[in-house]
């Protein structure tokens, strides 16, 4: 690694924000509600980054993200729950060994969530990555649904549709942040090197990549599995963050949510994914206001339940119609671009 000013700036920024978050959490500088939203943003950012790797950088139209998240979340939950908790909660069928006694530290659980998701991704990748475009989308969507059906039916491992609750809330603000930074650094190091060029080449012109002697299929599998790994990590964090999971929450709407972060931020832009996750998560929260009765002093509008989703889908539609490349397009927010922006303004 060339040690230059930019790297130094990045490291400083990461440490500064991390330190700030640590202080905030330690001294409860902001309310629980705000911390909750910020954590959600970090987790959503991990999910957005991982999907961006698969779709934005490699061009693999995968709609199976919710499936990998589900695997991560369930593995994470099974690893962190206390054996007594499991015994009490599995009221349909008793939980089977070895899951009944499994108990690991949180970081192992998150890592395990990612690894198991990745293993499933390998199995899925080999048959379906030969498909193109929409067919790949549908096949991965199908796999995500298959995973969900199995989670529902294997109640001696997953507690079936009853779900799991009381997952230890070990995904603190700082933990979520650290995992997001790890995701960001790993992806940035990979994508802004030769590996990234290969992936972009596959995305833009697969035939050309083939002609250049690139083993397209291997690279696709690699990218897909890495994305699945981070989706699993995100799922494990989400489970701990919400403290309860059930198979229903991992339906295909969840994948579309993540896809929305990526598209809003810009396909093929890492910093765009961060922005997209942040803005849409906040927007969804902020839009709650429009469902409340509004009091204008002289007259009052009664709250209309459901308006929020109407407005939200309209906004989504407007973004896609009028700024379809998203916030960042394929550009990145870097020190250089900031400096350039500053100069332009001055």
């Amino acid at each position: 690694m060339r040690f230059n000013l930019t790297t130094l700036g990045n490291i400083l920024l990461i440490l500064l924000v991390g330190g700030g978050l640590w202080l905030v959490e330690r001294h409860e500088l902001i309310g629980d509600y705000q911390i909750y939203i910020v954590k959600l943003i970090f987790i959503n950012a991990i999910l957005a980054l991982s999907l961006n790797l698969i779709y934005g950088f490699t061009g693999l139209f995968s709609l199976g993200h919710a499936g990998f998240m589900a695997i991560g979340a369930y593995v994470g939950a099974l690893c962190t729950l206390l054996p007594e908790q499991k015994e009490m909660m599995w009221i349909l069928d008793p939980i089977i060994w070895p899951f009944s006694v499994l108990h690991t530290p949180f970081w192992v659980a998150v890592l395990a969530g990612g690894v198991v998701a990745m293993l499933f991704a390998v199995v899925i990748a080999v048959p379906v990555l030969r498909l193109g475009d929409d067919y790949l989308g549908i096949a991965t969507l199908g796999f995500a649904e298959i995973i969900r059906v199995f989670i529902v039916n294997m109640s001696s491992v997953t507690n079936g549709s009853l779900g799991i609750k009381g997952i230890p809330a070990e995904a603190t603000l700082l933990t979520c942040y650290v995992w997001m930074i790890i995701t960001l650094i790993v992806l940035a190091r990979l994508l802004f090197g030769n590996f990234g060029n290969v992936l972009r080449c596959i995305r833009d012109n697969e035939i050309a990549a083939n002609v250049m002697g690139i083993n397209v299929f291997n690279y696709k599998v690699l990218s897909f599995c890495l994305g699945a790994f981070f989706a699993g990590v995100g799922g494990a964090l989400l489970g701990s963050h919400l403290s309860t999971i059930d198979p229903k929450m991992f339906n295909f709407l969840l994948t579309f949510n993540v896809l929305m972060f990526v598209v809003a931020g810009g396909l093929g832009s890492l910093t765009g994914s961060l922005l997209g996750a942040g803005i849409i998560t906040i927007l969804l929260e902020w839009l709650r206001a429009i469902e409340e009765p509004m009091d204008f002093g002289l007259f009052e509008i009664p709250g209309i339940p459901g308006m929020r989703m109407v407005v939200f889908s309209l906004i989504l539609l407007l973004i896609i119609l009028f700024r379809r490349e998203g916030i960042m397009g394929t550009r990145e927010l870097t020190w250089k671009s900031l400096r350039r922006l500053g100069r332009k303004k001055a």
């Binding site: 309310g31 939203i37 349909l92 079936g160 549709s161 779900g163 059930d246 469902e291 002289l298 459901g306």
Partner: protein, 380 residues
């Protein structure tokens, strides 16, 4: 221009007056409500909200302070439910909260209230896990094992059926819980469960499962479905010439069940909470609720979800009154001590696991009408 200024002046005046008016009144007690007003469970959430709002209209003040309801939609989504509760406890500073229809949503909410130390009362979240190990969460309903056992008791003892089968939505915690506990109790009582068939949420074709059930010849099929689905199951069963009786649970308790199922509802049974407009003997409190409902929503029939919403509000109202304070800790203590509270749903006591204890009502559809045939207390 001039007119604009004058209008602005008027608006300012109105605003000032508004603020002055608010300042004069006692500070309101805020109670949060989080319900699925949109999404898959929207119908249940809306019914319960109507019940809560009715109760609020009936009992608008406590301890000489007005009560303010803060209603938030949880979109039938867990993440949203957790967010909604966060917002209610953090930003709106509610002293207690009501919600929600749907157990998985309530579980997400209960985790947050536990941390925030704000008491919550579930409306119709019947999954036993909701209040398990929770100090601050209660519910206005009984739980699935209790109701499943009651259904089994009624089928075995009162109706004398020896062969049962179950048909359940595998993806629905409510259905899976009830069906399992029904089977367990029915076997314990000495009956036989000849088949257990499954489907998934959103399925609307049950002909394959029903054909299979017809071949197994049970006396009764227990299908703890939601009413819309249940009505379709009844219709399809009738079309296929099924002769077994069908039995559902409280989610079938909806004025629309008979509208949706039509003639196919004949002979259908379901368990429910002990309230019904057709009850032969209605307690004073139940009558009061029925009359108030008819006055407030003349175009709508009373229903059990409305009653549960009403009860949830009533339980908190009663707890605040008994505690003599709107402090969350005091309300929690008072809620836990709720005993023999006379409500539209009978006399309610909160037990050690924070569930409301009450008998289980049985509804039967006879000649196109729903009839409240009695109450049953489960035998294990």
């Amino acid at each position: 221009m001039k007119l604009g200024k004058r209008l602005a002046g008027l608006a300012m005046l109105a605003l000032t007056l508004g603020f002055a008016g608010q300042a004069a009144a006692a500070e309101p007690i805020k109670i949060g409500v989080y319900l699925p007003l949109t999404g898959q469970n929207a119908f249940g959430g809306q019914l319960e909200l109507e019940g809560i709002q009715l109760a609020h209209k009936q009992m608008p003040t406590v301890l000489d302070r007005p009560i303010e309801l803060v209603v938030v939609d949880n979109k039938s989504d867990k993440v949203e439910a957790a967010n909604a509760v966060k917002r209610l406890t953090e930003r709106d500073k509610v002293v207690a909260l009501i919600g929600t229809y749907g157990s998985s949503l309530a579980m997400a909410g209960a985790e947050i209230t536990e941390k925030a130390r704000i008491p919550g009362v579930g409306t119709s979240c019947t999954n036993p896990l909701v209040t398990m190990g929770k100090k601050y969460y209660f519910r206005a309903c009984f739980i699935d094992p209790y109701q499943g056992a009651a259904a089994a008791t009624y089928a075995f003892e009162n109706l004398g059926f020896k062969k049962a089968a179950v048909l359940m939505d595998m993806t629905n915690d409510y259905a899976v819980g009830l069906a399992n506990f029904f089977s367990r109790s029915f076997k314990k009582l000495g009956g036989e469960v000849v088949a257990s068939l499954k489907y998934s949420s959103g399925d609307q074709d049950f002909t394959a499962q029903l054909t299979e059930l017809i071949a197994k010849k049970p006396d009764i099929v227990f299908m703890p479905a939601y009413f819309a689905e249940g009505a379709i199951i009844m219709k399809q069963a009738r079309e296929l010439g099924a002769t077994f009786r069908l039995m559902g649970a409280d989610a079938m308790d909806n004025p629309d069940t008979v509208k949706l199922a039509g003639k196919a509802a004949e002979g259908f049974l379901h368990t429910t909470f002990p309230y019904d407009p057709t009850m032969p003997t209605m307690s004073g409190e139940a009558k009061k609720f029925t009359d108030a409902w008819k006055a407030a929503y003349p175009e709508k029939d009373t229903n059990v979800n409305g009653a549960l919403g009403y009860n949830s509000y009533f339980m908190i109202y009663d707890a605040i009154k008994r505690a003599g304070s709107a402090d969350p800790e005091a309300i929690t203590k008072a809620l836990a001590a709720t005993k023999d509270l006379v409500t539209p749903l009978g006399t309610v006591s909160i037990n050690a696991t924070h569930d409301a204890e009450m008998p289980v009502g049985i509804i039967e559809y006879k000649d196109g009408k729903r009839v409240y045939v009695g109450e049953v207390t489960p035998k294990q």
